[in-house]
């Protein structure tokens, strides 16, 4: 590692995972120690300090990925990649600490749970994994007049990527769209590959296929019939299916209902 004087700066990067890996690269090869790390779109300009923009370079990102996989572990890489999708403000700094410490400790880094930043990275990754897993079940598609399946979600974390992987496998030959209304992003799959796009807020809801309302009706009725009245348990119900998901689920009258004109 070159021993030139280190620069301490507020870092801004483009918000991609590759971009973050380049922040790690800059830490090691350009002597840049971040005071804070922010993404360009969430940038809060400060008067006191000038931001230092890290330009994303795929080769450098690749080098860092390989180094993490080899010197720490594949698990650690996976943990960092998931933590990245979290919406916790402090995630980038914790991830950097985690990686730096990981290069010192090797694959044993995950045993050092007494360090707050390691616990924190694990927790972020776990929360993302959990929300993605829940949404794999809770998200609902509706068929549009063009035969595309459309799904709206409002997740806390940026879970489009894991969801996209899941559905690209499961519904391989079907075109579908998953729309993250909270972060105004969407993933569009055309039967072959996924494209991630930005969506303007208040986009007009799609026009649904003719039989859509009828199938939603069947499902809602199935859902209500399957409950056993004598066992009714609202507290357990809320624990298992938190309220925040219900707004996008047809059986709870959520968005995406074909019989409602405006969602």
């Amino acid at each position: 590692m070159p021993s030139a004087p280190r620069k301490e700066v507020d870092i801004v990067f483009d918000g991609t995972f590759e971009g973050f890996l380049c922040v790690v690269y800059a830490f090691y090869y350009e002597g840049i120690t971040p005071l804070s790390i922010q993404t360009a779109d969430a940038l809060q300009p400060s008067l006191m300090q000038e931001e230092f923009f890290i330009v994303t370079n795929n080769d450098n990102a690749c080098k860092v990925e390989k180094a993490i996989r080899k010197k720490i572990s594949h698990d650690a890489y996976y943990t960092v990649a998931y933590a990245f999708l979290s919406s916790a403000d402090d995630r980038f700094m914790c991830m950097l600490h985690y990686i730096v410490y990981g290069f010192k400790m090797g694959h044993r880094v995950d045993d050092h749970l007494h360090h707050d930043f390691i616990l924190r990275v694990h927790k972020c990754a776990r929360e993302v994994g959990r929300e993605a897993h829940l949404l794999k079940g809770f998200c609902r598609f509706a068929e549009t007049a063009q035969g595309i399946l459309y799904c709206a979600v409002t997740p806390i974390h940026h879970v489009l990527m894991p969801l996209a992987e899941h559905f690209a496998d499961r519904m391989m030959e079907q075109s579908w769209v998953i729309h993250d209304k909270r972060h105004n992003k969407a993933v569009v799959y055309n039967g072959e590959s996924c494209v991630f796009v930005d969506v303007t807020p208040n986009t007009v809801p799609p026009i649904y296929a003719e039989n859509e309302a009828q199938i939603q009706e069947l499902w809602t009725s199935y859902f209500n019939t399957a409950a056993i009245t004598a066992r009714k348990n609202p507290k357990l119900h809320r624990n298992m299916l938190p309220m925040r998901f219900r707004g996008d689920m047809v059986e709870f009258g959520g968005t995406g209902r074909a019989d409602s004109t405006i969602s």
Binding site: L113, L119, K136, R170, Q174, I215, R231, M240
Partner: protein
Amino acid sequence: MDFSQRLKTLTEGAKYDVACTSSGMNRKAKKGMVGSTEACGICHSFTADGRCISLLKMLINNYCEYDCQYCVNRRSSDIPRASMQPHEVADLTMQFYRRNYIEGLFLSSAVIKSPDYTMEMLIKTLALLRGDTYRFNGYIHVKAIPGADEALIQRLGTLADRMSINIELPSERSLTVLAPDKTKPAILAPMKYVKNKILQSKEETAKYRSAEAFVPAGQSTQLIVGATPEADSKIVHLAQGLYKGYGLRRVFYSAYIPVGNDTMLPRYESKDSYRSPTPAFDTGTGLIDKAYGPILMREHRLYQADWLLRFYGFTAGELFKTEEENLSLHLDPKCHWALRNLEQFPVEVNTADYRTLLRVPGIGQISAERIVKARRASKLDFTNLKKMGIVLKRARYFITCNGKMAEKINFRPESIELRLTDNHAVGPYSQLTLADAAYA
């Protein structure tokens, strides 16, 4: 009856079957097919009773020739009857699956005409789903009909991921009284057959990739609890026998909830009230009748005991002293066991092996794993444990960190029990929460 009405009727008839998991099978999608399965299972929704909906759970028809007293669909029951054509079931499954409402199908049937005829209807439906028209590659759980020809079971098993044959009543005697058309051998024989077939297919698929898989997610069964007098000890021993002797993947327990009034089941008016809920719930208001708290709690405890058998290295013999014993309703089975075996505690978290940690009340698999990992890097104290997200509510009375307990306590069963139950101001039945469904 229109389609929606028929679906309602056929859902009503299937909903008391508690199994709704889609787990035990990881199958990536195949080109040209629709769907995949995940080993950990996926819950798609939760009904108002807090149970997971993972599969479209329905009967193909509910015209039953049999008269099992505990069942809504029995011949003598006064309910609307309906049936569906195989293509209707297949079509509905696909429509729900594409919209991500479900993980797959759980299909069963009342016994219509004969067990063989019923099985053929099930086979037809599954073959249609898996065939060229629908190319369905998602999860299918099917309930086989006892007494059907083995060749039919064989065929059905190559189409399904999981198969179940419900034992329902935990003893031969109860079966004779309440399910006169069924016998224990008629239920156990196909279970044995399925077990052997699974083993055989596992060997073959290991050898030849082209070999046909036979119920790759294993077989399961259900026991009804509280309809008949068997004690928990008997039930848990039976479950253990089924896991060991029949290689079952899961045993499900279903608290008996009286359905209809014209039943010859006991009316539950004995002194032993918690085992005898008065069947007086009001379907109109939909309120949970207090009388069900105890029976649902009993079911919950059985799931916990089952969990101890499958994942925590306990045997049924350790949990019960006698055949007639029941699980404690106010303490979970692990706490109960620990208090009876207090000489094995407290356990030192910095040195105890994984298996010993697992036996500590309040420490589950994830916590035990985290402890074993974290202590390699540094010695653990109570603050570390808390930070690591380990819940100490119960564990604190059974562990030491570097030789110290969390607080000074009188280390005797009675005083620990008092502390364990003290916090439950709302009463022992209020804790039917997260954990309950996690067992399913």
